[in-house]
Symmetry: D2
Subunit: 375 residues, 4 copies
């Protein structure tokens, strides 16, 4: 059976390992478990249909990622994984301006034609909106999207890992480096041990650059830092059924079960190194925008602030595929702010690619050369 | 020669009258010169190409409106109209997040394919951005669109009116009511005088509802109130060459000549009646957002606050055409926030329609029945 | 009878002229009626007892000024002056922190011992506070001072001027310059006319420096610019009975009759020249602080912004008395933010001083040499 | 030798135990070490001289507390206690308005007459002010008070406890209840053990009410919740020499050694129970005010938020003395926001009182009956 090593165990690496293991491959996953893993910090919104981005390749991928979720979650649940972190709780796209709500309804309805999974699209008055998410500010009406979902990155990743392990995948913690023979990647060294493999898949997100550098590959992935605040609502409210709240700016509110509400996030560019610090200014920004959106959260308890790094390519499109010039080396990266939406689906493609199976996706639209300088 | 009465002399009515008079028609324009005329308050940005709106009918119209400007302005200038209020000063679409700037570049470039009039699309660093508009906040980079323009609603309307008058059009001030015989509109009464006409064109914006009500027409045009602040930059800077500034939210900054900078605007819905008041809260909102965007404006002199009403239809699309069930009655309305972009071009269509000429535009996409209840 | 010329007709000059004329003097008042007269812009709060300032000389003067008001207003009303601009409407000293309210009660009660005119001191709950001033923010409790009053600077100044005129005083508009013979001021030139007098009293506030400069006097009066916003409450509420609102910061709200509410003010130092401009930043500051204090004012109508200059001396104490080294020259200045509180009372002292009468006040505490460099 | 039990080991209890032990008493301290101890959360500013509070009894006590510090710290240092948490780093009282700076200079100078320990009083320009505390906002000038100090509540308390232990004091953790015989307090029960004593001193701050309730004493001490944010400045700056910053509102900034800067605090009244939660709204308020004051702190690292409860009496004055009606029972409470300023000094008085020594302070001004209902 084919031996495959996956480097990185964020949502992308975990999904790749899961699909490989299910397909019978001999899978080893190496991760250095640094602070700042995007998946670890993230609470994801699965609702690509309202995006204003016009790039068709991006939208096709995001839409496919969202469509794949129910099938994946069903598979995990069949195996007995009850804690997938996924809940189709719907989303509220809110705005103070009813005219903008009308334009959103128009956009969502246009998009439904080729994405029925969007579910019911309903225009909600201010009081209906607050009926769905009781802590919101006054004056907000909304479009409700019933097919939208939320996912807890940690929980889904862990469920995928547990399932992969049950199918024989092995996860080790360590700093990986690539083993090279001529133009072929033969394996991975972690600590003092070397593991050989037929195929190596690099799902290392923000850390891929330094991993590939020894090969002379100038990988052009940049990072955006996100600080995300976790709160606990004091009164016993059933936060688990609250929909995701998407305001006009970059912020969001995502309720989870057990009284937890997540406020995200900063979008910090131009950071130097992996600055995993929670900063006074970052918290100020998130708290101001979040409490402005939902004043009722002012009285919630502060639990923690998480920090993640979103990887992105020069064209802001994910890239994936075989690394040109090297045998046995596959990579994917640049999932940006949509990592949880796209990650499970791209992981499936990577597994199929490394096993020589036919792909569902035309990955030439996401050519990995777009993220490599001088190719 | 055909006799046509135009009701309303905002940008739409003025353009209609201009094109009718140029075509040789016998034109009478009636306007009640109320406070709150959208054109009177507005400083328009001619830059539809960056809009995130997906409705194709809307975009076609906005694009055609922008494309028509250079031709119209050239005609006016040939007649000796130097004060058209139009200047192709370019636009800066600014953002704090360089990733968003990258996505804007992508969108603008996609749009240029069928809209070469967008001109040069240039990504500007923070310091280049402030080089174009010196008072901006720190931390903003931008996409510069060279083909974008600004237009002063009052000045363009007045230039169109002067030109129409030179071609024989007559403008009177008064409260118009429609004269009816069976199912035909025969003319208009203003004050104690009745004027007969072959065709009546209602360009009455926010006031059309009450004009059409006596005919039993339930016109579904709503209004959004806009408060717009005019400032004077103290030092002698050549504000006339500054580009329009378009931030991520609804606000904008528009410099004009003679040290004047316009900050707009509120988007007030659900107002009752024509509340033309300048309010403390409205000014607060505009000043806070504008000074946040351009802190250098804090030391500018407050000149005045203008109030206008933007008309919109239930589908947020302009409507135009012959009013069904009535002979001799044409109307257009619902130009929303794009009145100055689309108004001159739609006026041309209305003139052609009333004169029985062939239209450039397929107006069936903008069926006036969409704004009439029960048709 | 003694001939006296008063230069300046703000509240101080008007009161001086009034008291002189009542005492039978032959009074001429010269004023250049510039923009930016402090009195013209000001809406005054007569409530010195809560001040935290510890300077005893200052407090004695402010307290005496407040105590004099009822007597002065009664005299004016006896003459038939109904529009004095004065109303003993009380004051609310508000705070979000009940502990601070307790400390204010303590301070006010201590002060009442030698100032019974403070009236009733009452601690009000949040709902009682809003009962007195309905538009206030939530969460504010207050101390109510029944003896506090408001005064409209323009109205009181005009009432004093009308009364002085009835007693024979003459007011002329013009740019005054002093006439000198040896070390004696003999009169004043205004335009092409020279007026002689036994005594000249300079009440020229912010403009005194340039008036005294030709005498070689380096008068050390500085100015603070104040921008003050006037609003109209839309609904028919009896704003005339609303108390003055004094928050913990420098801002205030002062309701007048006829639906008018005044929001003050900026405190702009280091201005260059008499910059009488209403600025975007000044309005932003006043609107933000005022609407934060009384959110209900957001929907009020913006009427106008007034600009005034508050004169102050190096020691922040008013100065008054005969100018040393010159015969026939008296001046007073530096009333700062308390001009309307102290002005009428100091005017009375100046009149008595110039007429050789005994003074109520020991003016040596306010030695004019404190404001003259090199004396 | 006399046996004394002290209940509570905040700054007041620790100081009482220290002075008792030094005087040779047999001391036992019982504390339940709850979350929310005021001393544990607090970073104190020793600078009572600028307070605007007029109550003379309060000021005498605060002034005496500040004056006692150098002597106490010297004693601790003689014993070898180097970590007292105390540093005479000076204070900057900052304001945007230079006129207010002038008035502060006046107030400080008046106060120096009978408080030479205030040290040098210096008016600083904006650039001098930022020279002392580099992260401050632009536009702030200040009064610098050289005699002001900061103190870390935890460190000083621990130093006092260590010293008391060296002199034989015993500290135990437990929930204390009072042992009563007729009208005499005979000792304290903690857990299952009872300790007898000649005198019991209740220094239990916010928890005293429930301790005294079984005696039928209705103790009227209320609490104000304070949330305090601790930050770490990223660059290697010598924060240990930075002065305390006191702005016009209730906020403050206090730098400590090792890159730590403390931002305080909320002033939350009307809380129910001991709500020790760190809340989203509390952090938002502290961060907004603190970063507004010192924008340079936006990039500092968030370390933790501490919560404390400041006890206060109905008259906002500390109370102390023998509890009337009970023998062997002494209490002190209500130190409010000045606990660290006054606590060490009051602890000395309590020790003297319980040992029958003559007191430095006339404690009748702080009669404990003022905090007991119905006495």
């Amino acid at each position: 059976m084919k031996k495959v090593i996956v480097i990185g165990s964020g949502i992308l690496g975990a999904s790749t390992a899961y699909h490989l293991a299910k397909a019978g491959a001999d899978v080893l996953v190496v991760d250095r478990k640094d602070k700042g893993q995007a998946t670890d910090a993230a609470a994801g919104i699965i609702c690509p249909w309202l995006s204003q981005r016009r790039n068709q390749a991006w939208y096709r991928l995001a839409k496919a990622g969202a469509r794949y979720y129910p099938e994946l979650i069903a598979q995990l649940q069949e195996e007995g994984e009850s804690e997938t972190g996924y809940a189709q709780a719907g989303a509220l796209s809110v705005h103070h301006d009813p005219i903008k709500i009308g334009l959103m309804m128009e956009r969502a309805t246009l998009r439904k034609t080729d994405a029925p999974e969007i579910g019911d699209i309903t225009e909600l008055t201010e009081s209906q909106t607050r009926g769905h998410f009781p802590l919101l500010a006054e004056g907000l009406s909304s479009v409700h999207i019933s097919g939208a979902a939320r996912v807890d990155g940690r929980a889904l990743r862990d469920a995928l890992i547990r399932s992969a392990q049950r199918s024989g995948a092995v996860f080790i913690r360590g700093e990986a480096s690539l083993q090279v023979q001529a133009n072929r990647i033969t394996g991975v060294t972690a600590g003092k041990t070397t593991f050989s493999a037929d195929s190596i898949i690099v799902c290392a997100g923000a850390w891929a650059n330094s991993l590939l550098q020894p090969l002379g590959i100038d990988f052009q992935v940049g990072f955006q830092k996100a600080q995300i605040v976790h709160l606990e609502v004091p009164d016993h409210q059933d936060t688990g059924v609250w929909p995701v709240v998407i305001p006009p700016n970059d912020q969001y509110l995502l309720a989870m079960g057990q009284q937890r509400v997540v406020m995200g996030s900063t979008h910090e560019n131009g950071i130097t190194g992996y600055d995993t610090r929670v900063t006074a200014g970052g918290m100020q920004e998130v708290l101001n925008k979040g409490i402005d959106l939902a004043p009722g959260l002012a009285n919630s308890t502060f639990l923690e602030t998480r920090v993640g790094f979103r990887p992105f390519t020069p064209g802001f499109l994910p890239v994936m595929g075989a690394v040109p010039g090297w045998e046995g080396l596959i990579a994917a990266n640049g999932l940006g702010a949509s990592g949880l939406t796209m990650g499970p689906y791209i992981g499936k493609q990577l597994a199929q690619l490394s096993l020589g199976m036919e792909l569902e996706l035309n990955i030439s639209d996401y050519d990995i050369r777009n993220a490599i300088k001088g190719v």
